[in-house]
């Protein structure tokens, strides 16, 4: 059982053997984090942010500390021949033999967290974060995180190939707690892909936290592709702090897992920040996916664009909660939020809740949400050109998803997402060939 007590009891042994166990600041943070988790337990639906997402099924599962499964072939298959700086993690632990960071420009660091704790503990300490951020699930990550990725870019450094972080849940009932860091100094640029995949690992648990700190004019594109097994649990949090003129583009593509929760929090600490939060999810069966976003427009002239799309079939459930906070004085804020859900079955359900809190006067904020079926006019048009009803439905379903994919830049990042969608949408193999 994944009760709170199980994790708390296991913590002591874990803390002793984890990477960075000898660092006093880390030991202290871990200790405080497990104490918060012990006190709060798993989030419950009594908490507003978790109203629609119950972790009761997760609590009934037991998870094990994984052995060393063989995943070389699977990893290679996922990697394909895509160029990039590759870091591979198996059940949450860095797998150096599968990784291939390649050559990096001077001033760039792409390594595992366990390595970074050995080599540059003070740099990790500066960005590690603490137990108070996010839900108690994020505190559990802070307590148990033993590995992850550490990416840092010095002033003006630009990576011309993406950083690919591949997380494979390989063992049945494996629980992993990756904690990733993206630290971009002024005007640095990079594309970072986090891909979570399951190798028939059944009811595994991934509790992942990614923290990004962008200095002035830094530009980071982040793509998270969640393709865990249909019985898996995925709890993810991304928190971003942006300085003046920086741009953070997030693409959250969530297709797998029995229960997936993504918290994305973005804070504009300087003027003229920009962010795009682009999300797409597809759930069927009895699966459940929940995105909660928070954009804190703390400073003036910030631009945020938020587009979430969900496709829900069978008795699946999708939740989107989008909070936009415009602080006093954050004038010329320009925020747009949209959430569109496509229901393919009568029993599927989508909840969308925008939450705008605006304390500045001179702002543009627009939001809208739709929940509906396929457009009848479009169905008629396609059928009037000879496409049968099933084909027309599939084309329109694919098209609904494709609109989120089209926002992904650079376009080279789209192919994996498109492949994932083609696997999910009925008849998808032949769709979207042009």
């Amino acid at each position: 059982m994944s009760t709170v007590q199980t994790w708390v009891t296991g913590f002591t042994a874990h803390a002793r053997s984890s990477a960075g166990a000898k660092l006093p600041w880390l030991a202290a943070t871990r200790q405080r984090a497990i104490e918060r988790f012990a006190a709060e337990g798993w989030p419950t639906s009594r908490q507003e942010a978790w109203r629609h997402t119950s972790l009761a099924v997760l609590e009934q599962q037991s998870f094990l500390d994984a052995g060393k499964p063989s995943v070389a072939q699977f990893a290679q298959q996922l990697r394909g021949d895509e160029p990039g700086h590759w870091l591979v993690f198996v059940d949450g632990r860095h797998a150096p033999e599968l990784s291939d960071v390649g050559s990096l420009p001077a001033g760039a660091r792409v390594q595992s967290l366990s390595e970074a704790l050995e080599q540059v503990p003070e740099q990790v300490e500066a960005v590690f974060g603490n137990e108070l951020e996010g839900s108690s699930t994020a505190a559990l990550n802070a307590a148990l995180a033993a590995d992850g990725a550490f990416i840092s870019l010095a002033r003006g450094v630009e990576l011309d190939k993406p950083v690919h972080l591949l997380f494979i849940a390989a063992s049945p009932q494996a629980a992993s707690f990756p904690r990733n860091f993206i630290v971009a100094d002024a005007a640095a640029r990079a594309v970072v892909v986090e891909h979570y995949a399951g190798q028939g690992s059944g009811a595994s648990l991934t509790n992942a936290v990614t923290r990004a700190e962008l200095a002035a004019d830094a530009h980071i594109t982040h793509l998270k592709l969640q393709q865990e097994d249909a019985q898996a649990f995925h709890l993810g949090a991304i928190s971003v702090e942006q300085a003046k003129g920086s741009v953070f583009n997030s693409h959250s593509m969530s297709f797998g897992a029995r229960l997936a929760r993504h918290d994305i929090a973005n804070s504009f600490a300087g003027d003229h920040c920009e962010t795009l939060l682009n999300g797409l999810y597809y759930v069927d069966g009895r699966r459940h996916v929940d995105h909660h976003t928070l954009i804190d427009h703390a400073r003036p002239h910030g631009v945020s664009r938020e587009f979430y799309r969900g496709i829900l079939d069978d008795t699946a459930r999708g939740v989107f909660g989008g909070r936009i906070l415009v602080a006093p004085g954050a004038d010329k804020t320009d925020a747009v939020q949209r959430s569109d859900s496509l229901l393919l079955s009568r029993m599927a359900k989508a909840d969308a809740r925008p939450e705008l809190e605006i304390y500045a006067d001179d702002v543009k904020c627009a939001h809208g949400a739709t929940v509906g079926q396929l457009d009848e006019d479009s169905m008629f048009y396609l059928r009037s050109r000879g496409l049968d009803e099933t084909h027309a439905r599939n084309v329109l379903t694919y098209a609904f998803a494709a609109q989120a994919v089209d926002r992904i830049e650079p376009p080279a990042l789209r192919s994996k997402v498109i492949a994932a969608i083609r696997k999910l949408v009925p008849g998808g193999a032949s769709l979207g060939e042009f």
């Binding site: 048009y381 059928r383 009037s384 009803e389 084909h391």
Partner: protein, 256 residues
């Protein structure tokens, strides 16, 4: 080819077509003109199979089959084509995919092998040139962000690719400048053949200068109140629709 007998149709319990009769033979071009609200668009939608319209009585024979019992896509595959008055925008579906899917659905129906992407692109590029469409329109989403004229050209492109036996043009001329109108008319005229028929629905006679009809029908109050040759269109242009409406209300009175 197409035989419409005493067709009555309604939308949301409002009778729109009230006893419409029309015979169309292969090789003929029929123009249907009429004032707004006379039922022109309803006729085209009913023939294409739009489910929002309810057929209350009457029959439509199409190449010896009962058209009204055929699903939308069967009508299309058997050679009936409707050029939409307001073509639908479909974000996320590339025009190329859409056009190829349509062409291959028709080819499958005819027992022909499907065209692969290469063969299709070759074919479509030639046709696009003929209707004055730039190649980039292949890779844009269907009709999305197209101007009115571009949408209509795209309809004509679909028509020329699908080579229908009967094409119904529903106010294809509306919103077109004279150059676009000529391009559209050229596309339609290239399709004219002894095996094909056309129904041109229009409010204005202008298009009929370029697509000269064999027959002109005046639709008013849900039925055809006058039929004649091309000269009838010219007469309408000159006299307006006022007298037609009068005629329709007189007939209704007489029928009652």
């Amino acid at each position: 080819m197409l035989s419409i007998k005493d067709l009555h149709a309604s939308v949301e319990d409002k009778a729109i077509l009230r006893g419409l009769n029309l015979e169309v033979k292969a090789g003929e071009v029929h123009a249907i003109m009429g004032p707004n609200g006379s039922g022109k668009s309803t006729l085209s939608q009913v023939l294409a199979g739009r489910e929002d319209y309810k057929v209350d009585s009457g029959s439509v024979q199409w190449q010896g089959q009962d058209l009204l019992s055929m699903p939308i896509e069967e009508r299309a595959r058997s050679g009936l084509f409707l050029a939409f008055q307001y073509p639908i925008e479909i974000p996320g579906v590339s025009n190329a995919y859409f056009l190829r899917a349509a062409v291959n659905a028709s080819r499958r129906h005819q027992g022909l092998p499907e065209l692969d992407a290469m063969d299709f692109i070759k074919k479509v590029k030639a046709e696009m040139k003929a209707v004055g469409m730039k190649e980039e329109f292949l890779y844009r989403s269907v009709n999305e962000g197209f101007s009115g004229g571009e949408k209509k050209r795209n309809e004509v492109l679909q028509m020329t690719l699908l080579e229908p036996k009967l094409a119904i043009l529903d106010e294809t001329d509306s919103g077109l400048d004279i150059d676009a109108l000529k391009v559209v008319a050229d596309g339609v005229n290239r399709l004219r053949s002894p095996e094909r028929a056309l129904i041109v629905i229009t409010h204005y006679q202008r298009l009929l200068d370029y697509i000269v009809p064999d027959f002109v029908h005046v639709l008013a109050g849900g039925r055809i109140v006058r039929s004649g040759g091309h000269e009838l269109a010219l007469e309408l242009e000159e006299r307006g629709y006022g007298w037609v409406k009068e005629l329709a209300s007189q007939e209704k009175g007489a029928a009652a």
